[in-house]
Structures are given as C-alpha cells and as structure tokens.
C-alpha cells in the first residue's frame, strides 16, 4: 500500500538527518498516522524544540510549525492551545529537550492535562550537540561527557509522566511501526495530555561510541531489546534483564 505522504512535506527541502537516523522513520510514521486519521494538516500546529528531533516537523511538515527554545515546547504549546483550542497541537522533540532542560514543564504539562500530544524522541543522548549524556542515557553507556560510562540511572519516562497525571502514556520504538502508528492516532484523538516516548536509533553519536555496529545492527538491537508489556508480564526478572518494555502504560479511555 502506498500513500501520497509527500503532500504533507514542505517542498524543496533536503533532509538534515544523518544516514541511519531513526528520526526519518518516525517522521514518516507520524505522517501516516495523520493521513489515516484524515485530519487536515492545516488544522494542526507542530511545536518543536532544539535538537535533531526538533527538525522532524520544522521545517519538514507543510503546516503551521513553531520552533521554540531549548526545553520550552510545552509552555509555547500551552499558550497557543489555551488561546485557540481549535488548534490540534502536536509537540515533537528530543529526550534532552523535553526531559532534561524541559523536565519541569513536562510534569506540569501532564499535571494540567491540557489537550496536547507529545512525541518524545529518545535517542539516548544529545544528538545535535555532538553526543553528550542525557537523562535517558542507560547506566554505563558511553557518551562525549561520560567517557568512562554513565554513572547515573536513566529516567523511566512513561512512569514519570504517568505519575504526573497524563491521560495517555505509551512507549514504542521506531522498529514497531504499526503499533506506533496506532498509538500516535490514539494520542491525537484523546482529549488531554498524551505522551509517547519513541526510541530512535542514533548510529552516529550513540551507536559508534557504544559499539552497536551499523545502522542495521542498531535496528536489530532495538528489535531484540523491545518487548511488549503484555509479553513481559509472563517473564521472570532474569528474563526481563536488559529488556525495554513497550506498549501503553496509561490509556485515559479505560
């Protein structure tokens, strides 16, 4: 099945993503979700922060886009949505942007439960600035600022955002495209704060420093690591060691 997704892309641009970057895959999946929902993209507002992931909607999406300050997508989006509730607002930004520098806004956004859809792109570090540690970097992982391995634990973001009061909370990897598309569709449709953490490979900054091989190896790595929540329920702690649990953690409609 082919779709004319090009209609959603601003003409005349070249991609800014590195070879093997997962952000291009996610870009396509978001557009497929919008296409399947039959939303007019002109009724949407895309808000993005600073970092590679912020480039997914801005400048690529042929719609209203607001490229903000590092970490501040949620406040900007809150202003736009509160003043004009008709705007369908989607925030797309990096883990560093939304959860490190913007972490306070993230929990307050979830608490207020304003109707915003947040897609947080977790590539396990700061891609754009050259690969420094983030609050999502796994313990022990190598980055430009943890050359002997990250000494700290990462956030479990869905747990954090769920505890803060979001209506919809999920985590998927770009290697789970169909589940991710339906999750994005759900997140857009649900009234209230919806949050999806999307795992996205960064072969250049993360893969290289952690000996994860080629872009294809990184995709395989994510496919192997990610298991669905339902599947995980039957496994022992030993079997779960090193796995990343994906799925829906809070679905406001239940």
């Amino acid at each position: 099945m082919t779709r004319d997704l090009e209609q959603y892309l601003r003409p005349g641009l070249v991609t800014a993503f590195c070879p093997g970057c997962g952000d291009g895959i996610l870009l396509g999946l978001i557009l497929r979700a919008i296409d399947e929902l039959k939303i007019n993209i002109d009724d949407m507002l895309f808000v993005s922060g600073i970092g590679c992931a912020g480039w997914i909607p801005s400048p690529n999406f042929n719609a209203d886009t607001l490229h903000t300050l590092h970490g501040r997508t949620i406040p900007f989006a809150t202003g736009a949505k509160m003043f004009n509730p008709k705007l369908q607002v989607m925030i797309i930004s990096g883990d560093g942007d939304l959860a490190d520098i913007g972490g306070n806004h993230l929990i307050h956004g979830a608490r207020r439960n304003i109707d915003l859809t947040v897609i947080l792109v977790n590539n396990f570090l700061y891609g754009m600035t050259g690969g420094q540690v983030a609050c999502t970097t796994p313990m022990g992982a190598f980055t430009m600022t943890t050359t002997e391995g990250n000494p700290y634990r990462p956030f479990d973001l869905p747990k954090l955002v769920d505890a803060a009061g979001a209506t919809y909370v999920a985590r998927y990897s770009v290697t789970q495209p169909l589940a991710l598309i339906s999750s994005i569709k759900k997140a857009v449709q649900i009234k209230g704060f919806s949050f999806i953490e999307v795992l996205s490979p960064c072969p250049i900054q993360f893969g290289r420093r952690n000996q994860l091989g080629t872009p294809i190896d990184m995709i395989k790595f994510l496919m192997d690591k990610c298991i669905m929540k339902e599947e995980a329920e039957g496994l022992s702690p030993e079997e779960l060691e090193g796995k990343i649990i994906t799925g829906e953690f809070s679905d406001g409609r239940n």
Binding site: R10, D42, D43, L45, V47, S58, P59, N62, A63, D64, T65, L66, H67, T68, L69, R72, I74, P75, F76, A77, T78, G79, A80, K81, M82, F83, N84, K86, L87, N104, H105, H108
Partner: protein, 375 residues
C-alpha cells in the same frame, strides 16, 4: 473601541491600573508567576479575566510564562506577562526569541531593589540596561517608563499597540513605588487599539516597506507558518550559515525600531525655555524632580525638566539638543547610573549623576540640594 471600565475617576494602585490597562487594550492571554511587587497584577488579571473573557494561566515559572505568551501571540492573542527582578532575569531568553521571531508581546517589569533577591518590597531602577541588553546578542526592543498610576494605565495600552505595530516585545519598566502607589486616575470613553497588520500570502519575516515591519499571520490561517528563532529568510526557512541572510535579518530587526524612533519616542518636558540646568528623569523619581524644580523656579532659578516616557529606543536627538542649550544636566536615578551614561553619549554639556540605591525612593530635598549646587 470602548473602554472596558465605564468612563470616570478611579482610585487604583499602579499594579491594578496596569491590569486594567491590559484589559482595556484587549489583552486576550496572560501567563505569569507570582513575585513581589508584581503579584497584584497577576491576581487582578486572574479575577478580571473571568469577567472579560481573557485566558489566564499561572505557569510553573517565568520561563514558561514568557514562552507561553509567545505561543499565544502566534495563535492570535494580544498577550502579556508581569514580573520583577529575578523573574525578569529568567525571561531573557524568551525576549530574544520574541525579537528574532518578531512576536508582539508585553512584559511588565515592576522593578525592585537588587541584585539577587535584594529587597522585594523596595523600589529601584536597576533594570534599565537589562531591558535594553538582557538577552544575548544585538537586539532592539521598546521600553516605556510610567511615573504615575494614570500613566501606568495609559502606557500599558500603548505597550500593546506598539508591540503589535512593530512586532516586537515591549517592556513596561515601572517600579515598586509606582506599582504600589495609590492615586486617582481617569478612564476615558474610548481606547485606541492597533491591530496587527494582515496580508494573506505575504512573507511573514521580510518586507520591502519602509517601516521594515512585515505583516503577521496567525496559526490556523492556512499560511503554513515556519516560526523559528534560528536565522531565517523572509519565509521562515532556516539559513544558519548564510552571512547575507544573517546580516539582512539582524539589520532589519534593529532598524525597524531605530528608523522609526521619532514616531515611537514619547516624552514630557517643562520649564525648558530658558533652563540652564535640566533634570533628565523618569519613573517615580520624576515626581520628586518636578517638586524640586518647581521649588527652585519659585526662587527664580533657571531649572527645567525633561522626562523620559520612552526609555528605549533612547531619545538621542532630543538629549543632544538639550545638551547644546543647557549648561548642566542632572540625572537622578535609583541605580548606579544607567541612564546618565546614555545622556553622556549624546549631550555636549556636563551630565551629573545623583545615585541612590538604598531601596528608597529619592526625596525631593535630595534633588533640591543637588540643584542648588549646580545652578
């Protein structure tokens, strides 16, 4: 347009007048975070917006406050925040973003004594240069400086109109003394409202018009807007390594304020015809200055007053003119000499600072004493 409050006399504090000025100016969105001495603005707006239909939100901090008013402005709102000292510092990155994206916003800074936490309930004029230069790199903003409750109301309305007209952040640089001052003020039948210029399909970030201000579309108008504070071309496309685009954009953002400064600048002057010593003053301090000048005029001394109602852009030509006619200029300030240095740049005569930074407003006697020495 009609005023929101019925015309007549009111007894308001400066902070209350600012809240009412915003409402009269059809402010549709307010976000803020409480801080003395600006909290009364936040509180009054939160109550009054329920009656007038504006959107109020108390955000988690001042960074979130300024960011959310920028978002609301692009969604079509006349948008404002209010703060003081530490909160104004936190907002600076947002000011830079609004300058670069040409977003009309109004920021009320009720100055308190600093640095640091300083004295929360005491007045100062310490943020004059911060308003001008507070965020990184070259940029222009507009700043106004009221001396009374009436002017706090009037200039809040002006601030919205200037922000929309020039697509720039406008800062109302008031101080604790005006913010907490209570006095009588009048509300007229009508208010002048300038609405942002719209031109469907036109470039939102570039113009060939003389005023240098492009029309401003709003989200939801099918303009497929690309709003970014990265260096961008006339259509918002990022051009982060093109020297020509960088030079052109930064120059236009600068000159759309500087080239229009004669139209923007407002001031007040009295006893200037034959004045040999001129007091250049602003804000609450100007009230003491006027008292002092009238006292000395009563003694036949040739003293005059020039009051800055617009702080930025600075009235360089007017000061040059005063400097060529007067023998001396006295600048009383509740800071270590921020405006006096600007005056020195343009005035050919001597400019003398009277500085008081003890968290108290400057008493007329202090200015009288200074003037007696100078005349």
């Amino acid at each position: 347009m009609k005023s929101i409050l019925s015309p007549g006399s009111y007894y308001f504090s400066g902070d209350e007048a600012i809240a009412e000025g915003a409402i009269a100016a059809r402010c549709g969105y307010f976000a803020g975070y409480p801080i003395t001495p600006a909290s009364e603005i936040v509180e009054r707006i939160s109550i009054r917006f329920k009656e007038t239909g504006g959107v109020f939100i108390q955000m988690e901090d001042e960074i979130a406050s300024i960011c959310s008013i920028i978002g609301a402005s692009w969604a079509g709102a006349r948008a404002m925040t209010a703060t003081s000292g530490p909160g104004f510092s936190l907002m600076q990155e947002g000011v830079g973003h609004a300058v670069m994206t040409e977003t009309p916003i109004v920021i009320i800074d009720v100055q308190r004594a600093g640095p640091g936490l300083g004295q929360a309930t005491r007045p100062a004029s310490g943020d004059i240069m911060q308003a001008r230069w507070g965020s990184h790199s070259d940029r222009q903003i507009i700043a106004l400086c009221p001396w009374s409750v009436q002017e706090a109301y009037d200039q809040t309305i002006d601030a919205f109109n200037l922000a929309e007209k020039y697509r720039v952040p406008v800062i109302l640089l008031t101080d604790e003394a005006v913010g907490h001052l209570r006095e009588k003020m009048d509300i007229r039948e009508d208010v002048d409202i300038f609405n942002r210029t719209k031109k469907p399909g036109a470039a939102p970030f570039g113009t060939e018009e003389d005023d240098g201000v492009p029309p401003m579309p709003t989200f939801g108008e099918r303009e497929k807007l690309l709003v970014t504070s990265s260096t961008h071309n006339d259509y918002g496309i990022r051009k982060t390594d093109d020297p020509l685009v960088q030079a052109k954009l930064v120059s236009r953002l600068y000159s759309k304020i500087m080239n229009n400064r004669e139209k923007i600048i407002d001031y007040d002057s009295c006893y200037m015809e034959d004045a040999e010593v001129v007091v250049v003053c602003y804000g609450f301090t100007a009230r003491s200055a006027l008292f002092a000048i009238e006292k000395l005029r009563g003694e036949g001394k040739k003293v005059g007053m020039f009051r800055l109602k617009t702080m930025w852009p600075f009235p360089d030509r007017l000061i040059r003119d005063i400097g060529s006619r007067a023998k001396k200029i006295l600048v009383p300030e509740m800071n270590k000499g921020q405006v006096v240095e600007e005056v020195m740049k343009y005035a050919s005569c001597d400019a003398i600072l009277y500085s008081q930074t003890n968290g108290e407003d400057i008493h007329p006697n202090a200015i009288i004493e200074q003037l007696r020495r100078l005349v």
